[in-house]
Structures are given as structure tokens and as C-alpha cells.
Symmetry: C2
Subunit: 215 residues, 2 copies
DNA sequence: AACTTAATTAAACGGCCGTTTTAAATAAGG
DNA sequence: CCTTATTTAAAACGGCCGTTTAATTAAGTT
């Protein structure tokens, strides 16, 4: 029984690493079981299928991140009458850091997984997220609207997805971009620094004045 | 000889469509040759390999887009002493529209191809682009710097890639997002409208004031 | 017209994929 | 200690992949 959990965990740990590095579909079960040093068939024994393994990996992070996000949003709307866009956005930082409890490099892993999940299994992840954590997502959106009363909801919807795209792209190609930045500007950029640079960018973009419709 | 060009073109047309819909690695040569109604082996005969086909597809669009972008940038810096961020960004619109001359839906196809190219073949596309059109990219960056003298170069580098990520993400998941937006807000969103919504977002993000380093 | 070159075709190659089946080893319960 | 599940292990399954081969057809040249 104790050994069994070991095997299952070894698969999860290896799968998270390889999925976050190469994406879901580009990672084969043979790569995962080789990295985990377990037998190929044990994946299907413990998880049923590759798709189920992917879901298990994602669910493990979502189940930690989403409740933590809900708590942050609750504290924000409780303690402040007038919320600012940057404060709502900042609510995602602590839950991200909380992912260290599932894995030391959990925050980075989760963001990269999210990026691949969005580009590879399109609507699937969104459907799962909305079904299980729809209220949290909805509350996040409401707070963003509250912070930007002069921007129409439809525009905010798009701008939030632009922001998501900026974050996921930056994370997915983070390593390559940081190398280029280092060779162009001489300074090293840390992975977490990227997220800090992102916040003012998306905060300004979300709150930008809507252009004249006659241009 | 006339028939030969037909086959080669039929492959290109089918490949562009399927690549832009499902990505490069997810699209098999058998899908392409089936869609094009040509023999499987003709891809390797006319292009040499799948990788060469991908490069041919991308090069066809880049060779139209990049010179057109260079012309726009030249006109901008020639006619205005003080350039604004939104004007530099607007320089990409006409070259995008010019892609209609390679295919009716060229602009959309090109952006989606770009998105997959960045996420799937990471450094490869960037290397190719810089080797062939490095000066144009560099001039674009210079104009952005010129328009934002108060933002340091390194920050602008990251913000431009955030912008690229926002655009590519919006295009890659454009169809799904537009469906969601339609069901949530009742109005249909056109594909081109998405790009217009993007401009003020990234313009504001790029020009955002840099935050205090002590936060 | 015959001949040379180019283009198309059908079939097969080796390789990796996710999954399943088989049997052996291990742990748990009576 | 023996029986019964549970877990690991190795091998094979069918399927799709990119690529190559060899034979056939079409086009171009003198």
C-alpha cells in the first residue's frame, strides 16, 4: 500500500515536469515512465488513461489555487470599498505562491501547464474550470468590472483574455525570452521577475480608455 | 509543367489551412495530401520534408508582411518627428491587410500560424525572422523606444512580448472566445474587431508608468 | 518520332504512440 | 501458512506517423 502511493506519486511528479516543459501531447507516456523509473503499464493502471493523467495533474493545482484565490478576493472586497484594477490582479499572486506547497517550483509549473492546456485542449480546460470554480471566476470578473466602471463588460472580457494570453505566452516561452533579454541587456531576469513586470502592463491595458468609435 | 505547379500550390493551400487550424505538429502529411487531393509522396517530392513545407508556408507570408511593415515604419519616421506608441503599433495593420494578396483570409491565417510557430517551434521561427528581417524588427523596436523615452529598454522588451502573446493567444483561441463572448454578451464579434480591441490595450500597457522599485 | 527529364503513383519501411494482455511478484486477510 | 487481492513487470497489439523506394505516366527536347 505504501509502495503503491510511491509509484503513483512518482508518475505525477515526472508528468508535471515533462508536461510543463514540452506540453501534453508532445510528452509520451514512455518519457514519463522512464523519467519516473516505473513501468509503462502502471500509468494506465493507476490513472486509467493519458487523458485522465492530464486531468489529475491539472486538478491537483487547481484545487489549491482556486480556493486560495477565492479567499484573496473575499478579503479584498471586504476590506476596501473602492477597488483598483492592480489590487484585483494582485489577488492571484499569493495563491500562485501557495502552489509551493504542492511542489517547490509549483508556481512556474502551474502557469506553464495552464499555457499548454489552453493552446492544446482549448475548450476542455475552460469547461472544467467553469464547472468546478465558476463562481470564483465570476467574482474575479465582477471585481474587475467594479474597478473599471467606465469600460464596458465586453471590452473587459476581451482585455482579460488578452492579459491571460500575455501571461501564458510569457511563461511558455519564458526561458527562451530570458536568454534573449540577458544577451541583449546584459542582466539576468528571474522567472518571478517576469510576473512582476507583467502586472503594471496588464493593469494599464485593462483600464485603458476606450477609443472613439469613429476611428 | 503547368500541372506540376498546380500540385505544389494545392499542397501549400491545404497546408496553410490545416496548419492554422490545428497547428504544425498536430497536422499530418496525410491530412494535408488528403485535403489537397494529391499523393502523399508529392510533399516530399516538391518540398523535401515536412519541416521544409512548414518553412515554405511561413516564408511566403513573411516575405509579403515584412517589407510592407518596413515601408510603414519608414513613412512614419519620415513624416512625424514625435511618434506615439499607437502609431507605431498601427504600422502592422496595413501589412496584415496586404496579406489578402497571398490569400483571401491571409491576415487571419498568418496570425494563427505565427501563434503556433511560436509555441511549437520556439526559437526556430525567431532565429529565421531575425536572420532575414532583423533590421525591420530592430527599427520597430527603436520606434517603440522613441515613443516611450521614460520606459527602460528592458521593460519595453518584455512588454512587446507580452503584447505579442496577447495577440497570438487572442487569435489562436479566437473562435472559441468569440463564441463565449457572443453567448455572454449577445453580440457577435468579428475576427478583425478583435485586433481593433487589442490595439488600445497593448498601447496602454506598453506606455504604462514603471512602478516604484520599492513595492 | 524517339529520347530524356520531370512528375505522379502505390506500396512498403522503420519507428513511436497509447493501450491491453499475459504472467510473475508482492502484500493482506483468514 | 495458505489463499486471495493488489501491484509490478515484460511483451505484444493495432494504428498512425514521416519518409523512401520503385514503377508508371506525362512533358519537353532535338
Amino acid at each position: 500500500m505504501a509502495k503503491a502511493l510511491r509509484t503513483k506519486d512518482k508518475i505525477i511528479v515526472a508528468a508535471e515536469k515533462l508536461f510543463s516543459e514540452h506540453g501534453f501531447e508532445q510528452t509520451s507516456l514512455r518519457q514519463i515512465t522512464s523519467e519516473a523509473e516505473v513501468n509503462l503499464a502502471s500509468v494506465n493502471y493507476h490513472f486509467g488513461s493519458k487523458k485522465a493523467l492530464i486531468q489529475a495533474v491539472m486538478a491537483r493545482y487547481q484545487s489549491v489555487f482556486m480556493p486560495a484565490l477565492a479567499e484573496q478576493l473575499y478579503q479584498l472586497q471586504k476590506n476596501s470599498e473602492q477597488v483598483a484594477t492592480k489590487d484585483v490582479l494582485a489577488c492571484v499572486m499569493q495563491p500562485l505562491i501557495a502552489l509551493r506547497q504542492v511542489r517547490i517550483d509549483g508556481p512556474v509549473i502551474y502557469l506553464r501547464l495552464l499555457g499548454y492546456a489552453y493552446s492544446e485542449i482549448q475548450g476542455h480546460l475552460r469547461k472544467y474550470t467553469m464547472a468546478n470554480y465558476g463562481e470564483i471566476v465570476h467574482e474575479f470578473f465582477q471585481l474587475i468590472q467594479q474597478a473599471n466602471p467606465n469600460v464596458c463588460s465586453k471590452t473587459l472580457f476581451w482585455r482579460l483574455h488578452f492579459s491571460l494570453g500575455a501571461m501564458l505566452f510569457a511563461q511558455t516561452s519564458s526561458q527562451a525570452l530570458r536568454e534573449i533579454a540577458a544577451s541583449d541587456f546584459g542582466e539576468e531576469t528571474q522567472a518571478e521577475e517576469t510576473l512582476l513586470k507583467l502586472l503594471p502592463f496588464v493593469a494599464a491595458g485593462i483600464s485603458a480608455a476606450e477609443p472613439d468609435p469613429k476611428s
